[in-house]
């Protein structure tokens, strides 16, 4: 695959966002309309303790994916109630059209004491073309289970032949890599199916994409598109510790393909390469989202600093 990189296309600091959010536009995910593209992302406010809260917002863009029409001017989805899985953030949200509504699969964050956080996947539904979403319940639809002990999140859903498929990540565990270090986590990509998008059957801890960096590779944010007869998955991967600032250990974009939705062959060469030194995506590429719009195939993704300054676009050359 050859990608034409269009560079960064959205900078959150240039817009007035709801919920007092000022930086970050992470994990862009699209809803394509006839005349425009709505791109959801997670942005951040800061709470009374000085800690981040991730909120969902969106930007509407012309189909040239260059011109901004406008950004969300009100809350798209409030955070969860006290003690709920999504009390401290929603990041990311994946949207899929279903029977005249839009299902929004959220990754909800809640803070812990011995480790920083746990996550689970929730379901919300929009009846107003994606302006706002309402929860189906206050708990998650996919959470930790017998062999997926923590950090179930990053759901990406496709309906194929009447079956809901979800690719998501599950934590394999937390580990302290140094005595004075905060615990770091490792997660892998898994797969679940559902007849209705609500009741899910996991493959239970089957890692579907092989590691490239070894067992301590963390894989995140799978996104899948069928191109021709083949399913292509993009995701991001990194080392499990020292990944924030140390050169070469941060997120890069990986790729795998499958002809049967079951076995996946990893082939990272198909991903767009990082930018040259000094570019917005030189040090890090993460949170990819592949989609089709007017017969073109695009990849949205975040660059340096996990998307603090926005997201960019690449276009598949065919």
């Amino acid at each position: 695959m050859k990608w034409l990189k269009h560079g960064k296309i959205f900078d959150p600091t240039e817009h007035r966002l709801p919920n007092g959010c000022v930086q970050f536009a992470q994990s862009p995910q699209t809803l394509v309309f006839d005349n425009f593209v709505r791109i959801y992302f997670s942005t951040r406010s800061v709470d009374a303790k000085g800690k981040f809260l991730s909120h969902i917002a969106y930007v509407d863009m012309q189909k040239n994916l260059r011109d901004v029409i406008g950004v969300a001017d009100r809350t798209v989805l409030p955070l969860g109630d006290l003690g709920c899985f999504d009390e401290h953030g929603i990041f990311p949200m994946n949207v899929v059209r279903h029977e005249g509504t839009i299902y929004g699969y959220t990754c909800g964050w809640n803070r812990r004491v011995s480790v920083s956080v746990d996550t689970a996947i929730g379901l919300t539904i929009s009846h107003d073309d994606g302006l706002t979403f309402q929860r189906v319940g206050s708990g998650p639809v996919l959470a930790a289970s017998l062999h997926e002990p923590c950090l179930v999140g990053d759901g990406f859903v496709m309906i194929i032949g009447g079956v809901f498929h979800m690719w998501y990540i599950f934590g394999t565990g937390w580990k302290k890599y140094a005595l004075d270090a905060a615990p770091d986590r490792t997660y892998k990509i898994g797969h679940a199916t559902s007849p209705d998008g609500i009741n899910w059957q996991k493959e239970e801890a089957r890692q579907i994409v092989a590691d490239r960096l070894g067992p301590e590779e963390s894989q995140a944010l799978p996104t899948v598109l069928r191109i021709g007869q083949r399913y292509h998955m993009f995701f991001c991967y990194r080392e499990s510790f020292d990944f924030r600032k140390v050169q070469g250990r941060g997120y890069r974009i990986g790729h795998a393909w499958s002809d049967d939705l079951s076995s996946w062959t990893r082939d990272d060469e198909q991903s767009p390469p990082p930018g040259p030194p000094g570019a917005w995506d030189s040090d890090m590429q993460c949170y990819p989202h592949v989609f089709e719009c007017d017969d073109k195939i695009y990849l949205l993704y975040n660059g340096n600093q996990f998307g603090r300054h926005g997201f960019g676009l690449a276009e598949l050359q065919r």
Binding site: G83, E87, N110, S114, A120, V136, G139, P149, I198
Partner: protein, 320 residues
């Protein structure tokens, strides 16, 4: 109304020495009948840490089968270790419920983690014993029953039963965290799930027992026994706020069912309440009813939710 004759406190954790993990509390008694003893699993705590926080372990005490007021021995070690960093049971395995499965013993337990905005969260894990209930191996590092759409947090108090060739798990699920005097207090309700294999569970997704004392009544310890053609549930309930004393504290309720799904609550029939004085004069909770050699017993907790141990009562008459 059932007539329970109280036999007094049977086990006092403060009297046991040489076990650093067993300083106080003997909560949520659950029995396994053996040839010569009644093994009573319970949950206990070592001293609180420097910030006043507890962890919980589960262990057992063997009572003489011929005279269950007499302690024969206490477990040398907890039956389960605490979970690893960031796992659901990192800070406690409490309570535990056991059932025989052929030569094996199955245990379902609540695992505790600590949270920032609320004090804790809880999910239900599973373990199996291959040595008759002395030690247990966890089936996995994660929970076997966890949070779902309308059971968003605090899945606890499991009671495992086998009825009609199907595993039944009675448990509680959190409904809301209620702020009371600046403190988050959990409200939970009694729920049920069924399973063919004890691993894949189908939740019923509804409250089994209607709330009585207030909408936010908290219900716990749904202990079910089948006797004389009826399913009997003894459980405990309390008010949602200021429940750590006599006024709003735990009492024992009762409900019955013919199909395990539809339950009729009738607390007046429970037949056991706080005493005039003594170890159970302020609250009474976590009932567990079991049959032994033609008699029906209830193990239960008294004041401070079992800080000083559990007691026994014996039924005068039949469960009907």
């Amino acid at each position: 109304m059932f007539q329970w004759k109280k036999l007094g406190k049977v086990f006092t954790p403060q009297e046991i020495s040489g076990r650093a993990w067993l300083k106080e509390f003997a909560q949520a008694p659950a029995t396994l009948i053996m040839d010569n003893v009644v093994r009573v699993y319970f949950s206990c705590r070592p001293p609180a840490d420097t910030s006043g926080q507890y962890v919980s372990y589960s262990a057992y005490v063997d009572l003489e089968r011929e005279n269950p007021l007499k302690v024969r021995q206490v477990a040398e070690q907890p039956i389960l270790g605490l979970g690893g960093l960031g796992e659901f049971d990192e800070f406690g395995t409490y309570p535990v419920s056991v059932a025989r499965d052929g030569d094996l013993v199955r245990a379902y337990y609540a695992g505790w983690t600590r949270c920032e905005s609320v004090p804790f969260n809880v999910a239900i894990g599973a373990a199996i014993s291959y040595d008759g209930g002395r030690t247990f191996d966890k089936l996995g590092n994660g929970p076997v029953l966890s949070y779902s759409l309308d059971e968003p947090f605090v899945l606890s108090g499991p009671k495992i039963r086998r009825f009609n060739n199907l595993w039944h798990l009675f448990y509680i699920a959190g409904r809301k965290w209620k702020m009371v005097d600046g403190r988050a207090e959990p409200v939970y309700k009694i729920r049920m799930a069924t399973s063919e294999d004890g691993i894949q569970w189908n939740k019923l997704n509804r409250d089994l027992i209607e709330s009585r004392v207030e909408t936010d009544e908290a219900q716990a310890s749904p202990d079910v026994i089948h006797a004389n053609g009826i399913y009997h549930m003894f459980f405990s309930y309390r008010y949602s706020s200021h429940y750590r004393g006599k006024q709003n504290g735990y009492r024992i309720g009762y409900a019955s069912s013919r199909n395990l799904v539809d339950w009729i609550r009738d607390d007046a029939k429970a037949g056991i309440d706080v005493s005039e004085q003594g170890w159970d004069a302020e609250m009474i909770s976590y009932p567990h009813v079991f049959e032994l050699d033609g008699k029906t017993y209830m193990a239960y907790l008294g004041d401070q939710v079992g800080r000083h141990g559990f007691g026994l009562a014996v039924l005068e008459g039949r469960l009907e």
